[in-house]
């Protein structure tokens, strides 16, 4: 992925997710560089690049153990983590509150599918 493609993807993330709706958005671009977009106070740790790099390493280890999918939803006690992976290696992670409406869930699902299909 070249820099203009990276820029397009980052613009898409910034234009697609707004704080308040999600707790924090971040991930790794195809060239391995981390990105993040906003974070509520409680998720300020996610503003560090190292946080996403650490998660990327964990996801790579899961993939190596045949535990992989284009999308996954991690259900925690107090939050949901949605992950979508592209074939070029880029991935996005979105934290949302645990309780979200069916409509919001559908909307998020569509955005993650769109992320995977972005040029």
């Amino acid at each position: 992925m070249n820099s203009s493609a990276n820029q397009f993807l980052l613009s898409w993330v910034e234009g697609t997710f707004s704080l308040g709706e999600v707790l924090v958005v971040g991930g790794i671009l195809a060239d391995g560089s981390p990105f993040r977009h906003g974070a509520t106070t409680e998720f300020v740790a996610c503003m560090e690049d190292a946080w996403w790099i650490s998660l990327a390493e964990a996801l790579d280890r899961l993939t190596a153990n045949d535990c992989d999918a284009p999308r996954s939803m991690w259900v925690f006690e107090k939050a949901l983590l949605w992950i979508a992976k592209r074939v070029d290696g880029a991935w996005i992670g979105v934290f949302t509150p645990r309780e979200i409406s069916d409509a919001d869930r559908e909307a998020l699902h569509s955005r993650l599918v769109e992320f995977i299909a972005l040029p």
């Binding site: 924090v24 409680e42 998720f43 740790a45 996610c46 946080w51 650490s54 998660l55 964990a58 996801l59 280890r61 899961l62 153990n65 045949d66 535990c67 992989d68 999918a69 284009p70 999308r71 996954s72 939803m73 991690w74 259900v75 925690f76 006690e77 107090k78 939050a79 983590l81 934290f95 069916d102």
Partner: protein, 344 residues
Amino acid sequence: MSADRKTVLLVDDDAQFLEVLQSLAQTASGEIWNVLAAQTTALALTTLQTEKVDLIVIDLRMPVVDGVQFLQLIQRKYPHVKKIILSGHVDGSSRNAATQAGAELVLEKPVTPEGFQTVLAALGELLRWQNEEGFRGTLRRVGIEDVIQMECLSRHSLVLEVSSQGSRGRIFIRKGELIHAECGDTIGEAALQQLLALSGGEFRHTAFDEPPTRSLEGSWEFLVMEAARKRDEAASMGAEPEPLPVAEIETTASTEAGTQPPLPVVTELVVCGEDGDVMHAWQSADPPRRAAALALLVECSQRIGATVPVGSLERVEFMGLPERVVARFSGQGAVFVRGTAEHG
């Protein structure tokens, strides 16, 4: 919360069994069921007071208040809640005691994945058949044999009206006993065999009415098996092979039964204990690899939980795959389940 969402309460003093059954039920229902668990009858009563429970599954052998005593208690207070008894040792007397106390079903406590699958299917059937007095609706790909089995196990009284390709008949079930069958001018076992050999058609539940005569004797299990044997015998002698009877009933009423999707079929299962060891594996090509993946998910979630306030990991659903894959976690272990794709 969806109107289709059903609440199932599991009551068992065996924490590990409770954990596995809760995980499997939640997963197998595609998260349609809200599956609650209580390790004591006291906790179960509290849950019944605070939640609208549709179905309760009770272990027969529990300390202080046993399953039958508990059944009697909740039958008085919550007569509309469907009740299933699970027991490691089902015998005639315990079955009678449980059914007389209000249990719709008395099932063997499962110890194998196939057993769990059977219990989950029974739970699904019972939830589907809830509030179906005079029900008439759609049951696609459910054999008449299945319906007879469920009604007899539940010791119901009803008449099944069956019609197909010009044939019409009725099967009378009284308190779980097959007592009469008629198909055209034929009655008794021959009529039952004709009806069970139908390759498709419609059936309808109607309220029980005394038949003109009693034409069937013996256990329903024997009668149904004999009908199946006759059908197989006819097929092996060159008769046109009949597929299993499948009922296709038109929906004429909006009932809860018509809105419940079928249960997914589990194709792989790995259960790990608290220490990460594989406790049980079924149809898994590489259980240690699954255990390693479960451990990695836990490790990863702990790293996330150490920096942001998300709490502990409950489950991970993998999407966009041909099959549905779910990993579930609790303080007592983890379960990896692969099954047919999620509904819709």
